[in-house]
C-alpha cells in the first residue's frame, strides 16, 4: 500500500512538473509556480474553508488567461479563478488541486467614455480604484461592497456583489454591460455588449454571479454612475432593535427609496466606536445609517420623512451629517465594522442571508437566541433596506469545542432565515460554504435546471467544479469536497 501511494505520488509530481513547464512556456517563468509556499498562500480565501492548490499562475493578459485555461484542460486539471481572495463563501478555495488562475495582474482601466458613461476594465482592477479613477469626471462605480478597497471587479462579477448603495442602484449585474470571457474550453467569447440588448439568450446575465464556474472574465464593460447633486446622510439612534427595524419598514412604507439604509446593533456600534471614533452613540441599542440622494427638493422632503418616521418609532436622536467630512466619518464607521471586531477576538465568522424586510425583527430575535443558546458572542450589521443580514460571530478558535458551536449556530441561523421566507445569500455567494444547503431553497428539478445551465457553459466540468451546486445535482455529476476542505 505504501509503495502504491508512493507510486501515485511520483506520477502526480511528474504530472505537476509537466503542468508547470507548460504554464511557464505560455506565461513566462515568473508566471506560474508550484512552490509549497505559493500553494499554501492560495489555499484559502477570506472565509473559513481551506483547500489545496495544484499550481498557481498569474497571467498578464486575456491571451495569457486563455493559454492558462487551455494548459489546464490539456492536463486534465480543473481551474479556479481568483481575484484578491476576499471572498467569504469559499468560491476561490481550490478543491481537488486545481490550477489557481490569479487575475490581479490584469489591473488596467482600459478606456473611459465619460459621455456614454461606460468604462472598459480588466478583472484585476480594484473596486474602489475604479471609482477613484473616474471621480474627476463626476462619476463613480456604484456597487460598493465593504471590501471595496481590496476586492476586484472580476471578483465582484463572480459573486454579483452588492454593498450598501445597491439598495437604490442595484447589484453588480445591473452595472455590467459586457464581459469578454475565456470559457472553460479555452475559447473566448464576448457576452453582452455596450448595445442595450444582445440577440438570443442573456449569456452575460448568466455569467454574472456564476462564481467562476462559467469561465474567467478578461475585459469588462461597466456602467458608470453620475454623482448625485445632493446627498444627505443621517444617523438615527434607538433604544431597541425592534424600534430600529420598525423605522426601516416605516421609511420604505413612506415611499422613500434611500440610497442606502444600514443597521448596526449595540455590540458592533460600540466596537466600531472604539476602533474608529466616528461619533456613533456608544449606548444605543441599534443605529440606522440612512443616505438619501438625488435632487435638492426631493432629498429635503425625504429627509423630513425619515426624521418623522424615526421619531415616531422612538429615535432618540436624528443627526444629519453637516458636511462631506462628517459624512465620510459616518461611513468609515460602517465600513470598518468587520475590521473593528478584530480587537475583540481573533476569529470571526461573517454570515450572509436575506429575509423579507418585514420579517427582520422576528429573525433578529431568533438569531440572538441562537447565539445565546450556543454561548457565542454575536453582533449584527446589515443592509436593512433590502433585508440582507450579516450576523457576525466572534470567537477564539483555540477555545475547546467553540468551532463546533459556531458551525451549529451558523446552520441554525440559515435555517431561521429560510423559514422566514428568505434566501441563502444576498452578496457573498454560495461558493463552497453553502453549496450543500442549496436543497433548503431548491427542489431537485430546480437544481437540475441550474446544473444544466452551468453544463452548457462548462460541459467538461473543469471550471471551479465543486462550487455552488451540491454533488449529484445533475445525473452523472461526480465529486464532492474532499475531506479536509473545512477547518
Amino acid at each position: 500500500m505504501r509503495a502504491y501511494c508512493a507510486y501515485v505520488g511520483i506520477l502526480r509530481s511528474i504530472a505537476d512538473e509537466s503542468l508547470l513547464a507548460d504554464l511557464r512556456a505560455a506565461l513566462g517563468r515568473e508566471g506560474a509556480s508550484a512552490h509549497p509556499l505559493e500553494l499554501e498562500l492560495h489555499a484559502r480565501d477570506a472565509g473559513v474553508s481551506n483547500g489545496r492548490a495544484g499550481a498557481v499562475c498569474w497571467p498578464r493578459s486575456g491571451a495569457e488567461v486563455a493559454a492558462a485555461v487551455r494548459v489546464a484542460c490539456a492536463h486534465g486539471r480543473s481551474f479556479v479563478p481568483r481575484g484578491s481572495g476576499t471572498g467569504l463563501a469559499g468560491g476561490a478555495v481550490p478543491v481537488g488541486e486545481p490550477l489557481v488562475i490569479v487575475t490581479t495582474r490584469l489591473n488596467r482601466v482600459l478606456d473611459v467614455d465619460a459621455r456614454a458613461r461606460i468604462a472598459w476594465v480588466e478583472p484585476g482592477v480594484l473596486n474602489l480604484d475604479l471609482s477613484r479613477s473616474v471621480a474627476h469626471l463626476g462619476l463613480h462605480y456604484a456597487p460598493d461592497p465593504s471590501s471595496q478597497q481590496a476586492c476586484t471587479i472580476g471578483g465582484n462579477i463572480a459573486t454579483n456583489a452588492g454593498g450598501p448603495h445597491c439598495l437604490a442602484q442595484g447589484v453588480t449585474a445591473t452595472h455590467v454591460l459586457a464581459v469578454q470571457a475565456v470559457l472553460p474550453d479555452g475559447s473566448v467569447a464576448m457576452l453582452g455588449g455596450p448595445a442595450p440588448d444582445s440577440p438570443g439568450y442573456d449569456l452575460r446575465g448568466c455569467f454574472v454571479g456564476s462564481e467562476g464556474t462559467m469561465g474567467i472574465a478578461t475585459r469588462i464593460a461597466v456602467r458608470l454612475t453620475p454623482n448625485p447633486p445632493c446627498i444627505a446622510t443621517l444617523l438615527l439612534d434607538f433604544i431597541s432593535v425592534e424600534d430600529a427595524a420598525a423605522a426601516v419598514s416605516g421609511i420604505i412604507a413612506a415611499g422613500v427609496v434611500p440610497a442606502a439604509l444600514e443597521m448596526m446593533d449595540a455590540e458592533i456600534t460600540r466596537a466600531v466606536e472604539d476602533f474608529v471614533g466616528a461619533g456613533y452613540p456608544r449606548d444605543a441599542a441599534a443605529v440606522l445609517l440612512v443616505e438619501l440622494d438625488g435632487l435638492p427638493a426631493g432629498v429635503a422632503a425625504q429627509c423630513d420623512l425619515v426624521r418623522q418616521v424615526g421619531r415616531s418609532n422612538g429615535a432618540r436622536e436624528v443627526r444629519v451629517a453637516a458636511d462631506e467630512a462628517e459624512r465620510a466619518l459616518l461611513w468609515k464607521g460602517r465600513k470598518s465594522a468587520f475590521g473593528a471586531i478584530a480587537r475583540i477576538a481573533p476569529d470571526y465568522y461573517l454570515h450572509d442571508a436575506v429575509v423579507p424586510r418585514t420579517r427582520l425583527v422576528d429573525v433578529l430575535r431568533s438569531i440572538y437566541a441562537i447565539a445565546a443558546e450556543q454561548e457565542l458572542t454575536m453582533m449584527n450589521v446589515f443592509h436593512a433596506g433590502d433585508g440582507n443580514l450579516h450576523p457576525l460571530i466572534v470567537f477564539d478558535r483555540r477555545h475547546h469545542g467553540v468551532w463546533e458551536r459556531v458551525r451549529e449556530a451558523g446552520d441554525a441561523i440559515l435555517d431561521a432565515c429560510i423559514a422566514a421566507g428568505g434566501v441563502l445569500s444576498g452578496e457573498h455567494g454560495i461558493g463552497l460554504e453553502k453549496r450543500d444547503r442549496m436543497p433548503l431553497l431548491f427542489s431537485p428539478d430546480d437544481l437540475d435546471a441550474q446544473a444544466r445551465l452551468r453544463d452548457a457553459f462548462d460541459p467538461n466540468g473543469v471550471a471551479n467544479p465543486a462550487k455552488v451546486l451540491p454533488a449529484g445535482s445533475r445525473c452523472g455529476e461526480m465529486g464532492s469536497a474532499p475531506d479536509g476542505t473545512w477547518v
Binding site: S198, G209, G426, L441, D445, A456
Partner: protein, 360 residues
C-alpha cells in the same frame, strides 16, 4: 404567421384564491407539456399575442402545435416588501392597477394593453423608462417555468436581493418561449413618483442628457427630444427651467408602419445611426437616448432592410418586430451560439418549445 393550431389549452380559469392559482400552476402547464412528450407536437406559449411576429417565425412540425396559456391572477402582493407575484398570463395593466392602489408600480411599461407579464418577459421588451430604471430583467426576482421535458422549475427567489445559485430569471427574459413556458413571476416594485411630466426640446440630446440628472426617458426623433421627468415637482420645474425644456404634456408618438423593428446600438453611436436612418426614405424612428434602443417603422420592407444595415454599420443589430416577412428575424449569427445551443438542448431536449423562433 403559419402556426397551425391543433388545440388551445387554457389553464383553469380562476376566480379566486391564490392557492388554487398555485395548484393550477403546479399541475396544469406541467401536465400539458408532459402529456405530449414524445408525440412530436410543438408547444407555443401565448400571452396577449402582441409580440407574435417578433424574431423568426415558428416552424410548426407536421404533428401540429399546442398553444398554452399560462394561468392568470394575482398570487400575492407584499406591499411592505414591495414585491408582487402573479400568474404569467396576467395582463400587465391588471398588475399596474393593483400596485397603483398602493402607490406602487413595477416598471413594465408594456406597449399594448393585452400584453401579459409572461409574454413581456419572454419577449424581453424593456420599457421606455429604461434610462432611469434599467431593463426589464432587473425587475424580475423569481420565475417558475415548465421546461421542454415537462419539469416545473423555480429560478431566483422571493426576496429583493438574492445571489443564491444561477440566474435563471435573466436567462428566461428574452428567450421567446424557447426554454420554457413561464407560469409564474415575482416582480420587484417601486414607489410611484410624486410627479411626472413630459417636456420637449430642440437641443441636442447628448447635451440634454448631460444637463439633466436622472431623467426617466429621453426619446429623440431627430427633430425634438421628448423628456420625461419624475420626482419632486420643485425639482422637475427647476431641471426643466435650467435645461430650457418646454412642457409638452404628452408622450411622443410612437413610430408606426407595416414594417417595424427595434435597433440596438451602443448609446454613443446613436447620432451616427440617426443620420443613416434619416437618409432612408419612408422610415420613421424614435431613439432612446442614453440607452441605444431605436424603434423603427418603415413603409416598405426594403427600407427596414436598409435600417438593419444602418444598425450593423453602427456596431449593433436590428430585431424584426412586425411585417417584412422576407427579412430574417435577427439578421446575423447569434453571438456565443455554441453555448446557446447547449442551453436550448438542455432545457428542451426534444426541441418542442417554439421551434424556429430563435435561429439556433
Amino acid at each position: 404567421m403559419g402556426v397551425r393550431k391543433t388545440e388551445t389549452v387554457v389553464a383553469p380559469a380562476l376566480t379566486s384564491g391564490a392557492a388554487r392559482l398555485q395548484e393550477a400552476i403546479r399541475s396544469s402547464a406541467g401536465d400539458v407539456v408532459k402529456g405530449i412528450a414524445g408525440s412530436g407536437v410543438a408547444v407555443v406559449a401565448v400571452g396577449g399575442a402582441t409580440q407574435s411576429d417578433v424574431g423568426d417565425p415558428i416552424v410548426p412540425p407536421s404533428t401540429g402545435v399546442l398553444e398554452v396559456h399560462a394561468p392568470a391572477g394575482i398570487v400575492a402582493h407584499d406591499v411592505a416588501d414591495m414585491t408582487v407575484t402573479v400568474g404569467a398570463g396576467t395582463p400587465c395593466v391588471e398588475v399596474g392597477a393593483l400596485l397603483a392602489a398602493a402607490s406602487q408600480e413595477c416598471v413594465l411599461d408594456a406597449r399594448s394593453p393585452e400584453a401579459t407579464v409572461g409574454g413581456l418577459l419572454a419577449s424581453g421588451l424593456s420599457g421606455f423608462r429604461r434610462l432611469r430604471y434599467g431593463p426589464l430583467r432587473d425587475s424580475v426576482l423569481e420565475v417558475r417555468f415548465v421546461t421542454g421535458d415537462g419539469r416545473l422549475v423555480q429560478g431566483g427567489g422571493p426576496t429583493v436581493k438574492n445571489v443564491s445559485g444561477y440566474d435563471l430569471p435573466r436567462l428566461l427574459v428574452g428567450s421567446l418561449g424557447t426554454l420554457g413556458v413561464i407560469v409564474q413571476v415575482t416582480l420587484r416594485c417601486r414607489p410611484v413618483a410624486e410627479s411626472a411630466d413630459w417636456f420637449a426640446s430642440a437641443a441636442h440630446p447628448t447635451d440634454l442628457r448631460a444637463a439633466l440628472f436622472a431623467p426617466s426617458a429621453l426619446l429623440w426623433d431627430g427633430l425634438r427630444t421628448h423628456v420625461l421627468l419624475e420626482g419632486h415637482p420643485v425639482d422637475i420645474a427647476e431641471q426643466a427651467s435650467s435645461a430650457g425644456l418646454s412642457a409638452s404634456g404628452r408622450a411622443p408618438v410612437w413610430p408606426s408602419g407595416p414594417h417595424r423593428g427595434r435597433a440596438s446600438v451602443p448609446p454613443g453611436s446613436l447620432a451616427d445611426l440617426a443620420e443613416r436612418l434619416d437618409a432612408i426614405n419612408d422610415c420613421t424612428w424614435l431613439a432612446e437616448v442614453g440607452v441605444g434602443t431605436t424603434h423603427v417603422a418603415c413603409v416598405s420592407e426594403a427600407a427596414l432592410a436598409e435600417a438593419r444595415s444602418a444598425a450593423h454599420a453602427c456596431g449593433g443589430w436590428l430585431l424584426r418586430e412586425a411585417g417584412a416577412p422576407g427579412l430574417p428575424g435577427f439578421g446575423g449569427v447569434l453571438p456565443g451560439i455554441a453555448v446557446m445551443r447547449r442551453i436550448k438542448d438542455a432545457f428542451d431536449p426534444a426541441g418542442i418549445l417554439a421551434p424556429g423562433r430563435l435561429p439556433l
